[in-house]
Amino acid sequence: MNNDIKNVLIVGVGGQGVLLASEVLSETAMLAGLDVKKSEVHGMSQRGGVVSSHVKFGTKVYSPIIPYGQSDIIVSFEQAEALRSIEWLKKNGLIATSRTKLVPPIASSGKFFYPDDPIAELKAKVKRVIALDADKIALELGNPRLVNILLLGVISDELGFDSTIWNDAIKKRVKPKFVDINLVAFAKGKELAKESKTVSA
């Protein structure tokens, strides 16, 4: 088996920036000299459906799909989607999620219900959870759409790439006029991850 492969699953809802986040992460791994593959299905992504992106990197990557129970990290931009994705998480894996709550119309139909507290359910099952008010933090930083790069900052130390590589990847993948603000968001995420570790320790 390819034991040196790292698997990261990024999930959210159409329009939340899942694809850009997985582009930046893939670019980072590529700049670090690793083989990288990623996979997502985005035919319906603009219509409010679930979007998930599998990113795998290591010496040699074969399939672009993460098997169940093999994801080292799950990054989620929506709290219920974090809960939905735990099938992919490794035993000691990390989940970093925004507390964002997006209730689909179908949950107003009376047939389905949005869980009262997905984060609490998540924490009851998974040891390593970082949950952030990422929307609020992104807004404070100046743009609600920074949630994706902010959360990449949160998981960055877990993956061991140099900060300069991350920054180069952001510069390469993000539109020039948004680069600076995304670099700030990334640094903020990194800092918040450290704080959250201090709190849980």
């Binding site: 088996m1 390819n2 159409g14 329009g15 920036g17 694809l19 850009l20 582009e23 590529m30 083989d35 990288v36 593959k37 990623k38 996979s39 299905v41 985005h42 035919g43 319906m44 603009q46 219509r47 409010g48 459906g49 679930v50 990557v61 074969y62 399939s63 672009p64 799909i65 098997p67 169940y68 129970g69 093999q70 989607e81 939905r84 735990i86 099938e87 998480l89 490794k90 035993k91 894996g93 689909p104 119309p105 179908i106 949950a107 107003s108 139909s109 047939k111 389905f112 219900f113 949005y114 869980p115 099952k125 998974v126 100046g142 743009n143 609600p144 759409r145 993948r173 539109k175 948004f178």
Partner: protein, 620 residues
């Protein structure tokens, strides 16, 4: 205060694609999707013309060619058949040619496809068939490898982005060497997965021009009979090539387990059993049966892993080689590393399969929905109220079949709504009328002939053309109604009203789909009228080519009686609030960031609780 940001701008998939032009690596190594790689392959192979009709998962190939490599002439055609025929013309004109389509698109183009296999090519001709196992965005999961066999033409099947690029040029060479069109068979996982691609230098193949050859290109019966003989002789040569080509290679790891596989299934095999021996099929028709026989004979156990149908397996077994495949790997849906592991376990070559550590959660579904402010919403609300049969078609509006709108009775293939309605009305006329619903791009693709049938055969149906001026479901491509070509030139916009009148429809009406009452009234009148009529909605897509955003609406909670009428229109901006009525029914709330101000909900709110958000306007 927030900076002004176009919400689509930061995250559009296409924008990301465009950006990769400016960040190309010096060593020519880039991170490309299978579709981006095919586009790059087209450049490197010296393709001169590329034509297609958009269809998931094939769409991004032509988008990438148009955006990144404008030296290649590229175009959207009204449908796959026309795209294919344009391609034939270019090939006979001596140019290397690429046509792309989703699997079901090849059904539309099957007529020219089957006969072009007889005539052979001028310049190299590559047909990309992008299949959709698992039906992520399709109506069936047909396995188009059988089409290549059916037409007796070769197909190549890549298993990653690198091969997707390399195989375009190889396909061109094979096409010219054997005088045959060649299929490049992709699947969703190959098209939409990304990997590192080592790029090469583009070549400039000699343009030879059209060489008149009526015996070869005019398929009257006397010529076609002779060409069928040529096809049979060509097949023998291809058979020999298949045995020799390195596209069908053996990975010898000294194992007594042998795996015969191709496409994405190869990767799933390697994920689970990297140490087995592999016979990887890159050239899938005709199959290298001698090579396969030797491979099987030299292994204690051999398995076939292939996604969808037992295409290899049937031919291998027919050749008297006894190898199992579908016994262990289902022909339904996509394969995955997990499914392949289960198959290996069942076949007794691995002991255990890694399982999920955490139980999956049973949560509410999150089906795709019509966007907030979608101009298709009110016409469906009206049709629901009128309680008529609604034959449907393929596009964003097919989402109206899902709850809570749940108003669509059929969806078969592109353009089928009109024919379906004609037949249904002939045998079972509904007193309230019969409606066919179709989008602008689908109508132009293959709805026009259906409408002509309705006129010709005096059908009493009402055709609703949801004209949003874009091919929205596949991500916003231009079509003959948008006034712009794929390469960004201004062009003639087809006038749908005049077109329908010219076909002989006497009753043609345009309506503003944001005016619910007007939409309801015109549909009610037209549905009752004898003879065919057409109702055309006239508002653009709210997402593309630009976001439509007006002042948002809000719910005055004191006025809301919890009647739930606004929940039933399926707008993602409307949800239940925490406030309850006296009868414990949840009141509605509108997300001001999602609301586009279309006001359709306000028009159906009986207590008039939905009103414009008062100034100052909410910050977006």
């Amino acid at each position: 205060m927030l900076p002004a940001v176009d919400p689509g701008e930061l995250f559009s998939y296409n924008i990301i694609n465009k950006r990769t032009i400016n960040c190309r690596d010096k060593n020519m190594k880039n991170f490309l999707s299978g579709n981006e790689a095919v586009a790059r392959g087209a450049l490197e192979a010296g393709i001169k013309l590329a034509a297609a009709y958009p269809g998931t998962p094939s769409t991004e190939i032509l988008e990438n060619i148009a955006y990144k490599f404008p030296s290649i002439y590229s175009q959207w055609s009204p449908n796959e058949k026309v795209a294919f025929e344009v391609g034939i013309g270019a090939s006979l004109g001596g140019a290397r040619t690429l046509v792309t389509m989703k699997h079901v698109g090849l059904n539309v183009a099957a007529d020219p496809f089957m006969t072009f296999a007889y005539t052979g090519v001028g310049g190299g001709f590559v047909i990309v068939s992008a299949d959709d196992p698992e039906m992520h965005s399709s109506q069936n999961e047909q396995d188009n490898r059988f089409y290549a066999k059916f037409a007796q033409i070769p197909f190549l099947e890549p298993s990653d982005s690198q091969e997707s690029k390399d195989f375009v040029k190889l396909a061109c060479e094979i096409s010219e060497q054997f005088d045959t069109p060649v299929m490049l068979r992709m699947t969703t996982r190959i098209s939409h997965s990304k990997g590192i691609v080592q790029e090469g230098e583009p070549i400039e193949p000699p343009a030879e021009g059209f060489k008149r050859d009526m015996n070869k290109y005019v398929m009257i019966p006397s010529n076609a009979r002779k060409r069928h003989v040529v096809v049979a002789e060509r097949l023998e040569k291809l058979q020999k090539y298949s045995e020799e080509t390195e596209l069908n290679y053996i990975e010898d790891n000294g194992s007594d387990i042998g795996i015969i596989t191709g496409g994405i299934a190869y990767q799933y095999g390697k994920d689970n059993l990297p140490e087995a021996d592999y016979l990887k099929i890159g050239f899938g028709f005709p199959l290298p049966l001698n090579k396969i026989r030797k491979f099987v004979d030299s292994h204690k156990t051999t398995l076939i892993i292939e996604e969808l149908e037992p295409y290899y397996e049937e031919q291998i077994k027919a050749a008297g080689i006894n190898v199992e495949g579908k016994k262990y790997f289902s022909n339904l849906g996509e394969l995955s590393p997990y499914k392949v592991a289960l198959g290996f376990k069942e076949a007794g070559i691995i002991d255990k399969v890694a399982m999920a550590e955490f139980e999956p959660e049973q949560l509410f579904p999150r089906p795709p929905v019509l966007c907030p402010g979608c101009p298709h919403r009110a016409p469906f609300m009206a049709l629901k109220k009128l309680k008529v049969p609604v034959t449907g078609d393929i596009g964003c509006y097919t989402l109206a079949v899902l709850p809570p709108l749940s108003i669509m009775d059929t969806c078969i293939c592109m353009g089928a709504s009109i024919g379906n309605a004609i037949g249904m009305e002939k045998v079972n006329p509904d007193e309230n009328g019969t409606a066919a619903v179709i989008g602008d791009s689908t109508f132009l693709h293959s709805g026009i002939t259906g409408l002509l049938d309705a006129v010709y055969n005096k059908s009493n149906i009402t055709v609703v053309i949801l004209d949003n001026r874009i091919t929205a479901m596949t991500g916003g491509q231009h079509n003959p109604a948008t006034g712009q070509t794929l390469m960004g030139e201004k062009t003639k916009e087809v006038n749908l009203v005049e077109l329908c009148k010219a076909l002989g429809v006497e009753s043609v009406h345009e309506v503003d789909p944001y005016d619910y009452q007007a939409t309801l009234d015109v549909l009610k009148t037209e549905l009752k009228k004898p003879g065919p009529s057409v109702v055309i909605t006239n508002k653009p897509c709210v997402l593309m080519p630009k976001r439509v955003m007006d002042k948002p609406y809000e719910v005055i909670l004191d006025e809301c009686n919890g009647c739930s009428a606004c929940f039933r229109i399926g707008c993602p901006a409307i949800s239940t609030s925490k406030e309850l009525t006296k009868r414990n029914r949840p009141k509605a709330i509108i997300d001001p960031l999602l609301c586009t101000g279309c006001a359709v909900c306000a028009q159906i709110c009986k207590p008039e609780a939905i009103v414009l958000v008062p100034e100052p306007v909410v910050v977006r």
